[in-house]
Symmetry: C2
Subunit: 390 residues, 2 copies
Amino acid sequence: MAIGPLAGVRIVEVSAFVAVPLGAMTLAQLGAEVIRIDPVGGNIDFSRWPVTGAGDSIYWASLNKGKRSVTLDLKSPEGQAIASSLIASAGIVVTNLPARGWLSYERLTAAREDLIMLSLTGNPDGSPAVDYTVNASSGFPAVTGRGGEPVNHVLPAWDVIAALYVATGILSAEYVRSRTGAGQHVTLALSDVMLATVGNLGYIAEVQTNGRSRGPLGNSIYGAYGQDFETADGRRIMVVAISNRQWHALCSATGLTEKLAMIGPMLEVDLETEAGRFAAREAITAVLRPWFASRPASEILAALASGRVLHGLYQTFEQLVREDPRCSIDNPMFSTVVQPGLGDILAPRIPLAYSVSSVPSAMPAPVLGADTASVLGEIADLQEQVGERR
Amino acid sequence: MAIGPLAGVRIVEVSAFVAVPLGAMTLAQLGAEVIRIDPVGGNIDFSRWPVTGAGDSIYWASLNKGKRSVTLDLKSPEGQAIASSLIASAGIVVTNLPARGWLSYERLTAAREDLIMLSLTGNPDGSPAVDYTVNASSGFPAVTGRGGEPVNHVLPAWDVIAALYVATGILSAEYVRSRTGAGQHVTLALSDVMLATVGNLGYIAEVQTNGRSRGPLGNSIYGAYGQDFETADGRRIMVVAISNRQWHALCSATGLTEKLAMIGPMLEVDLETEAGRFAAREAITAVLRPWFASRPASEILAALASGRVLHGLYQTFEQLVREDPRCSIDNPMFSTVVQPGLGDILAPRIPLAYSVSSVPSAMPAPVLGADTASVLGEIADLQEQVGERR
């Protein structure tokens, strides 16, 4: 019994790597039935690292949870014909393959006039680009860290953002189709995702208006006060004070209100403004640092929490998994799934919660090709029914 | 005349900062009419940096493009009543304020039974968290850069990802309402966005399965070959070879096929596999580095492009704006808008393109409060019509 806001929606995915698989998985997490079609033996991402000791891809298992898996010989006319029938039957297809040949929008709409197709490319002209190459051009590596040489992010942020644009693109096209009956081809380029984001966050207008952008600031926050501190026991904590309330909370919780107030007259800045605190950030950090350096993290965290100071404890992935209660089945977003090849793993459902629509709990990724027979059987039944009605 | 897939949809936003404003702006970029309600004088983000010399916020202007702006005294019962009427009339509200008092889902649904409301919080329990604090806990800063101390990302990735979950949440709830008539309260926590993403990318399962996660790798790509190189003229270029095709392209384009092939027997690795290239990455980089270091960027870029090697030129924000043709009106995603206080700026529309639905070109952000009278007039007319029909 299908549950979730998108229960009843059927989507075919022909793709690899992060953006399209994660976009389609997002729709699966909302209750859509997502059928991923791969070549026999798996697509190019099937063994992508990290892998288990036995070579099973943790990456692939994590990005394909809750999908059905069909394998076909996509180089043969027969395999392409079956894939086309599946797409026509589902009515929605998402892909990062070039939209040409059997996978062209024209050929696919011959079998399903109101098809919704979403194609992701690297650049808008179809030339390749991936998260790492798009990120280099974005401007962000040049201001990440302390400067000198560019620092790449490790979070594949552009891929994840693109994935959610994929979900948004499909849902908005479905909104149109449900009202007008018209399907359409939706296109998205990873480089445009980057450029739109850089623009939406003001970096383009900043250069055009002020002639330059901000430089690297290490872990300081631009235009407000925010800094990381080492504790007596070697942990690190990020502290943030953007609003005046947050600033006063930080002053109070550390008991340093009087000393911090000396900075205003000393540097002739108004510490009751974000700009003033940003200008005085080094002095503020100098006053705060000994307080953090002389206390263990546990004591600091308790003081910051009870004083309602915005803060975050730095964690490694290991610490996140082993020590953060938000990353456990105590968080209703998570459940334990039995993943073939991996064993019991903690897996998230969609982070959205709905007061009326239930959302499916996390499900394991399929075994490659496990649903081929059943899905093809359903298609055959469907075609037989259509034939009988004629 | 409204255009875009969401033409005819009306949304009220009561929020500040990045995630909810960007989520609502995404829906505006798809054609929805978005009315942002702020306190008189602006919300807490109205002067957020970067600012122009005259103090106009480039940040605010960039995150509120194409919205209508209404200012109300939200602390007075009158202002709250007007805001409630606006929300009831629109039928959709997005907020990062606590859903209580006049803004509680219960009070708002008294005036509009099928209301869709989306509330974003920091943590699921309603306690505060922002991109910077959530990021500290995520595990990514610990593996960004070369190790030693954590490196914060500068791209507010969690906020941007959350924004697109906001758009996805609204569209999926609208999908349900259009079929069943039922509105609902959708909730989302920034910390869950981070945790879900860390899980979707396999980092949680990696710790659980292998007992540990990967360490910092500088600008190298994990589990494949990817590295940045300095050119003779002081630029940097990111080069990526994940697939075998990409690897052979890199060998050919640099003319170093034979030398690179010596690495396999030398290190006893199979360079025809991603894992082998990852294991041999230092030797590969050592062979490639002189080729890059002895040529200017222009020559390298031409060779990599004609050889179909995946690559990205590192750029500062200034270089992106001034030198990258993708970041100009030659890219149909961009147009020049006249932004009050900022002047002519290059602004993106939504990065999605639709074969049937037109999408609105970029529009400037409103002047704060500029639409108050017209929007309240429309509400008054609407209420009068409802009264006459009774």
